[in-house]
């Protein structure tokens, strides 16, 4: 898998797409767990945030892998989409796409681009800020600052609105993407039905959870 020659074939690219997508889903799962702590227990939330922010393995191994994963995923997604558009240079005059495939499956690149725009804002909000505090305008370590910083982000209703809309689109992206990635890596068998149930539940509940957490902070501050 790792050799570059293999990424030349459409199937290999799809497998790479699926693996990067599944990796992002794993990340999303742990991110959701940490965020939910901000509702359950501010102290635990501060503790975990501080750990994630200063642990060298997280900072210098996992974080670069994550950034690479995100960049790889959307670059590959956009490239595959470009190739796919090229494969039909003359469009149908009348095409009934809804007759045989879901809206989610037909618009992965659109939901993906919205999620990308959101990630831009998210980076600006949290990551750039963190980098500034830690490495540029270096401030002393304060293991209790995270909870209040988080709440401040959700004061602005426009920002909260953007968050909620983005998570709706992420849910749509995952409603197709989660199961699709199993098909891409060749996993389609008697377990697929139960797996589909889990994938759909994850795709709806996790983004809904993120959105609810944002709303919770907005309305309780």
């Amino acid at each position: 898998m790792s050799n570059n020659g293999m990424l030349k074939s459409s199937i290999a690219r799809k497998v790479a797409m699926a693996l990067s997508g599944l990796f992002l889903i794993l990340f999303l799962g742990q991110h959701f767990f940490i965020n939910s702590m901000s509702v359950v227990s501010p102290d635990t939330f501060n503790e975990i945030s501080h750990f994630m922010g200063y642990n060298p393995v997280v900072q210098f191994v996992l974080q670069p892998i994550l950034i690479f994963g995100v960049i790889f995923h959307f670059c590959m997604g956009l490239y595959l989409d470009y190739q796919n558009k090229k494969a039909r240079p003359i469009k149908y005059v009348k095409n009934n796409g809804a007759a045989n495939a879901s809206w989610m499956s037909r618009n992965m690149v659109i939901t993906g681009i919205v999620v990308l725009a959101f990630l831009g804002l998210h980076f600006y909000d949290f990551w750039v800020h963190e980098m500034n505090v830690k490495y540029i305008n270096v401030q002393p370590e304060d293991p209790t600052r995270y909870y209040e910083e988080l709440r401040q982000k959700f004061v602005d209703p426009v920002r909260v609105g953007i968050y909620v809309v983005s998570f709706v689109l992420l849910a749509l992206h995952l409603l197709h993407g989660f199961m699709s990635s199993f098909q891409s890596i060749g996993f389609n068998n008697k377990y697929s039905r139960s797996l589909r149930g889990f994938a759909y539940a994850f795709a709806i509940l996790v983004p809904a959870g993120f959105a609810l957490i944002a709303l919770y902070h907005h309305f309780t501050i």
């Binding site: 898998m1 293999m6 030349k8 074939s9 459409s10 199937i11 290999a12 690219r13 799809k14 497998v15 595959l80 190739q83 796919n84 090229k86 494969a87 039909r88 240079p89 003359i90 469009k91 149908y92 005059v93 009348k94 095409n95 009934n96 796409g97 007759a99 045989n100 495939a101 879901s102 499956s105 037909r106 992965m108 197709h176 199961m179 699709s180 098909q183 891409s184 890596i185 060749g186 996993f187 389609n188 068998n189």
Partner: protein, 247 residues
């Protein structure tokens, strides 16, 4: 029945092509879609006009020649049928029907509604076969025991008639359903295992070279396939391909 047809007319591969309107009367609901086009063509010939070119051969759903993108769907609105098996009773009196050729870079238009699907032939030639000894000492196929379950699934895959509806309907013009059916029908049988590695690598390479798009698992192909070829075949081909490339 009276119908308004909007048909893609294109003189040859170089021509720009455009939709042309035709009114047609006295269509019987019992006609097949191709018979309806035959009536239209009779009429055009009577009027000294160029008849509409479209592909067909067996007219009983087994050869895969008939194509057509009808009202935005490959082989029209019915399920599990080819265009020759589509009946006019699926439409209503006064309907407007759009008729276009299968569209894909890899399926160039020859004329009007007829497209060149020889890209499929080249994919088949790249590996969709079993090499046998034809010296006269051929083994009886039944000499090798095959579990019924595998034989059934191989047969299901082998029912693909190579019509190209999967490509036509796919938003990416991907040929994965076709190629995976052709890979699976052999991959499931002991006779096919012998050349399995080369087969899947060569067929996928040829598929990519022909300019088909990448599969995004929308599942549209499975819905429109006249033979009900399952997406499980695509997953199987992905497994076969991964295993083969790691060898």
């Amino acid at each position: 029945m009276k119908l308004n047809l909007k048909i893609w007319r294109q003189k040859n591969a170089q021509d720009q092509g455009k939709m042309v309107d035709y009114a047609i009367d006295n269509v019987s609901p019992d006609m097949s879609f191709l018979e309806m086009l035959d009536v239209l063509n009779d009429d055009l010939i009577q009027k000294d006009q160029d008849p509409v070119a479209f592909d067909h051969d067996c007219r009983e759903g087994i050869c895969g020649m008939c194509s057509l993108y009808i009202n935005g769907e490959a082989h029209g609105p019915d399920r599990g049928v080819t265009t020759c098996q589509l009946h006019m009773r699926k439409f209503k009196d006064g309907d407007t029907i759009f008729i276009e050729p299968f569209r894909a870079k890899a399926f160039p238009v020859i004329k009007d509604l007829a497209v060149n699907r020889s890209a499929f032939d080249r994919i088949q030639q790249a590996g969709g076969f079993i090499s046998v000894n034809t010296s006269g000492n051929t083994l009886d196929a039944n000499a090798i025991p095959i579990p019924k379950h595998d034989a059934d699934r191989a047969f299901d895959a082998a029912t693909c008639i190579g019509c190209g509806a999967c490509v036509a309907t796919c938003k990416n013009s991907s040929a994965m359903l076709f190629v995976s059916a052709k890979v699976s029908q052999f991959a499931l049988l002991p006779q096919g295992r012998v050349e399995a590695t080369d087969r899947v690598l060569n067929m996928v390479r040829q598929m990519d070279e022909e300019g088909f798009g990448n599969c995004t698992n929308t599942g549209a192909c499975e819905v429109e396939c006249p033979k009900g070829i399952s997406l499980e075949n695509i997953a199987r081909m992905n497994r076969e391909y991964l295993a083969a490339s790691l060898k």
